[in-house]
């Protein structure tokens, strides 16, 4: 089956100021319904790249297309219908007097009817398990809940593409796991998910494709499984694959596959190996 790209970039260059470009010739196709992880060192261009997808930044040179339409001439408010962007820090978007008001802000900006705004808000509150906090000011909630509110507020706009910038930073293990379960569910529902993270275990566990950026260029792009096998190339970008992947690689002589991404996969492979030997 030929899957059409929902986002395509060609020769994308971006400079914040005259001088060295933050993005230096990015050619990329992101298929629809992808679950893409973007990794790279600080300053490698991850956030700069995704800000082009919803039009917050316009290319200095080259072009970006979202569903076949160039972003350069489209306002952010129009692109926001298609591309939802959850910022790294929830406090950069929270302003509502109540969580309900905060979540309804985006749908209301889309010009929907009051009934539709209400329906989407209630659905988002339920999907993210935020009903108990609906009438509380989101600014006083704990960080994990504020993060949830910020994702729910973008989810309520129902964009087919959802970008999450470091969604689990500052969250404890349980909150991170809950949030990522919700993101997985959104992907299963058909959303295209783009995830920026420095947590390699998270990327390995959840994403299907991975893009590695280094100094504004694409270093690697492919399935997450393939990318995390390129240990030497990853080293160029100072990236270390998840420990379980490294362990499997070192035990390759014993017959373990080198493309293991999670502990569960490692255990399965080990059990298969044990059964085969018995």
């Amino acid at each position: 089956m030929n899957i059409q790209p929902c986002i395509r970039t060609e020769g994308l260059i971006y400079r914040y100021e005259p001088g060295y470009p933050a993005l230096n010739g990015i050619d990329l196709e992101i298929p629809e319904h992808a679950y893409l992880g973007i990794i790279g060192q600080n300053g490698s261009g991850k956030t700069t790249l995704v800000k082009h997808f919803n039009g917050l930044l316009k290319p200095t040179a080259g072009e970006v297309w979202v569903y076949g339409r160039a972003t350069s001439s489209r306002p952010v408010s129009e692109l926001a219908r298609t591309v939802g962007y959850v910022f790294q820090n929830p406090d950069h978007q929270i302003f509502g007097a109540t969580t309900r008001e905060e979540i309804s802000f985006g749908p209301r900006n889309l010009g929907l009817s009051e009934a539709e705004v209400e329906e989407r808000t209630e659905e988002a509150l339920a999907a993210f398990d935020l009903e108990a906090y609906a009438e509380l000011p989101p600014a006083v909630l704990g960080f994990g809940l504020r993060r949830k509110v910020s994702v729910a507020a973008v989810y309520a706009m129902r964009p087919p593409i959802l970008i999450l910038d470091e969604p689990t930073s500052g969250l404890d293990w349980r909150s991170a796991r809950e949030l990522m379960a919700l993101v997985d569910r959104l992907h299963a529902q058909g959303h295209t998910i783009i995830l920026i993270s420095h947590d390699m275990r998270l990327i390995a566990q959840h994403t299907q494709q991975t893009l590695v950026l280094q100094e504004g260029r694409v270093l690697l792009y492919g399935s997450t499984r393939e990318v995390f096998q390129q240990h030497e190339v990853l080293q160029q970008a100072q990236i270390t694959p998840p420990q379980i992947n490294q362990l499997a690689s070192r035990l390759a002589d014993c017959g373990l596959p080198q493309d293991v991404l999670t502990v569960a996969e490692f255990c399965q492979a080990y059990n298969r190996l044990k059964e085969a030997r018995e």
Binding site: L56, V76, S77, R81, Y85, F87, I94, A139, V154, M157
Partner: protein, 265 residues
């Protein structure tokens, strides 16, 4: 990033070596004179002079350009509104209903606008060439309580940071389809409300975290503070200070007794 995140530009120019107290007194004297005078030519000389001081002090064009970008929109707005709402004296160049444009009110509007620019640049002479610690030491040496000095220095230090956060918050709200440049001025002003409220929440949270961080690093434990690098008032600093005070006194006398710079033209 397009914004400056630290106002101070490290360097070793004559401006950097100047005692921070002298620079602060210069800012006060120059500001007083600019507020007392109304002449377009005085404002122009002050603005050009401030640029020359910054350049000779090794301050980069990037920083100077940043101040221009910050002040120019306000300067243009003031010049235009002044001409519209303050009918001038003398022969009118254009007269229509309440609008009466004369060379006098054009010059007056330009002088007020240039005064804003000159005041900003004079303040930035001090801020661009003085590190935060030197700035506090200077103010404390002039008699300001240390906590007040630190508060002021931190407020100034956080100006560019807050400008960066403002940009981030604007982007976050625009990403939720908020249109900032649509409709009449009232609607545009109201559209900024989500940004202003989020900004206030972030500012309060930052202030709280900062106060806790200061307290946890034993701020206020010692009533009398010592300094690692005490200020040294050199003979050259004394000479420049005397020059600044003499020039200010002379210009004040000329303004009050002779009416120098009293009229826009």
């Amino acid at each position: 990033m397009s914004l400056l995140y630290d106002l101070y530009q490290p360097g070793d120019s004559w401006l950097h070596r100047l005692d921070p107290r002298v620079k602060f007194i210069f800012v006060l004297c120059a500001s007083l004179l600019l507020l007392l005078m109304r002449s377009l030519w005085v404002m122009l000389i002050a603005l050009v002079g401030a640029q020359l001081i910054l350049l000779s002090g090794g301050i980069s064009w990037r920083r100077i350009g940043w101040v221009w970008r910050m002040t120019l929109p306000t300067m243009v707005l003031i010049a235009v509104l002044w001409v519209i709402f303050y009918p001038g004296e003398g022969q009118a160049l254009l007269s229509w209903r309440f609008l009466r444009i004369t060379p006098y009110n054009i010059a007056e509007g330009l002088a007020v606008a240039l005064r804003i620019g000159a005041l900003a640049f004079i303040l930035f002479i001090w801020l661009f060439s003085t590190s935060q610690s030197a700035l506090i030491r200077g103010l404390v040496a002039l008699g300001l309580p240390y906590t007040w000095g630190l508060t002021l220095a931190m407020a100034l230090r956080y100006l560019p940071t807050m400008a960066g956060i403002f940009q981030l918050i604007s982007d976050a709200q625009r990403a939720r389809a908020l249109e900032l440049d649509q409709g009449n001025p009232l609607r545009r002003a109201r559209a900024h409300l989500p940004i202003v409220v989020a900004m206030l929440i972030t500012a309060l949270r930052t202030a709280q975290n900062l106060s806790l961080a200061l307290a946890s690093r034993a701020f206020g434990a010692q009533r009398k503070r010592t300094h690692l690098h005490p200020l040294h008032f050199r003979p050259l600093d004394g000479l420049l200070l005397a020059g600044i005070l003499l020039a200010t006194a002379a210009l004040l006398w000329a303004r009050l007794a002779l009416g120098l710079g009293q009229e826009p033209l």
